[in-house]
């Protein structure tokens, strides 16, 4: 189990850090990609294009840090949901979009977007699994004797 956790965690770190670095390397390209989704007003596109990659990079870095891991996993969860909403609305509206995900500028539309959705669903699944494992580990290490205490019968009080 622990090996699987590490594999998933490292995969998420690699994906989010890799995606962030390609966007930071070319903010103009990422800004153009955001515009193709037609989701936000023009004034918001440039701030998001500059800020979002750093948010992804910090999230990836925080996954390495046990103290901030749970918060980072929730951020991976939230970011994956946000990406799925963005891609889903583009598919629903029939838009041709540039993913802007890993710095490969190619226009995609329609059923071809299914691959992107499935990929984000995989990130979501990995984050959910790791959050569940964090919760389970915290629960068992915080109160290892709790089930024993609950199961032990209390001595009857003398009438």
């Amino acid at each position: 189990m622990k090996t699987l956790d590490w594999i998933l965690r490292l995969a998420l770190i690699a994906v989010f850090a890799g995606a962030a670095v390609t966007k930071i390397a070319d903010p103009g390209e990422f800004e153009s990609a955001i515009q193709t989704y037609r989701m936000m007003p023009e004034w918001l596109v440039a701030p998001v294009a500059v800020w979002l990659p750093w948010m992804e990079l910090c999230t990836a870095a925080a996954l390495l840090w046990p103290r901030h891991r749970r918060a980072a996993l929730w951020l991976v969860f939230a970011l994956s949901v946000m990406f799925m909403i963005a891609i889903g609305q583009a598919w629903w509206r029939g838009l041709d979009i540039v993913c802007g995900c890993f710095g490969r500028p190619a226009t995609v539309s329609g059923p071809a977007l299914r691959g992107y959705l499935l990929r984000d669903l995989a990130f979501l699944g990995a984050a959910t699994w790791l959050l569940a494992r964090e919760w389970f580990t915290a629960r068992t290490t915080a109160a290892p004797c709790a089930p024993l205490i609950e199961e032990t019968e209390q001595p009857a009080l003398a009438e």
């Binding site: 515009q35 023009e42 800020w51 948010m55 910090c58 999230t59 103290r67 929730w74």
Partner: protein
């Protein structure tokens, strides 16, 4: 309070990650001229961005003010050609397509070209089109947005 303590730690982590990301983004903006350039694109009063054009709820009439060969090679879907050299021939189709309340957006090659502004001025002056805009960045912005 056994339940609030982990939540406080979670919030503290979120705020920490958010603060560090924002600081790094601000530093990148301060140091990277390409990031600054994203904010430097100021709009002229008669210009409209591609995003805002696409978000316009009413109907649009795209007008291509580039020369004929460029239009023939490629243009915005549904756009009509209208350049100053072929004005008399091409204006007929533009007037036929135009309807009251329709927003007209004129474009040429990029921000540096002036033909779209001349065409827009003439549409306002000679034909009393009251909702005429220039596409900010012109055809190059469209191509960039389409990933070409």
């Amino acid at each position: 309070m056994p339940t609030t303590e982990p939540m406080t730690a979670l919030w503290r982590s979120w705020l920490g990650i958010l603060a560090v990301a924002t600081l790094l983004a601000a530093a990148a903006f301060a140091l990277d001229p390409r990031a600054q350039a994203l904010f430097a694109n100021t709009l002229a009063p008669d210009e409209i961005t591609l995003t805002d054009a696409r978000l316009h709820p009413g109907s649009l009439l795209w007008v291509d003010a580039r020369h004929g060969a460029a239009y023939a090679a490629e243009h915005i879907p549904q756009a009509l050609p209208l350049d100053l050299d072929n004005w008399d021939n091409q204006i007929v189709e533009v007037i036929a397509r135009w309807q009251p309340g329709m927003r007209v957006i004129v474009y040429c090659d990029d921000s540096a070209c002036g033909s779209s502004r001349q065409v827009a001025q003439r549409l306002r002056r000679d034909f009393q089109f009251d909702d005429v805009w220039l596409l900010h960045g012109g055809w190059s912005t469209w191509q960039k947005a389409e990933g070409k």
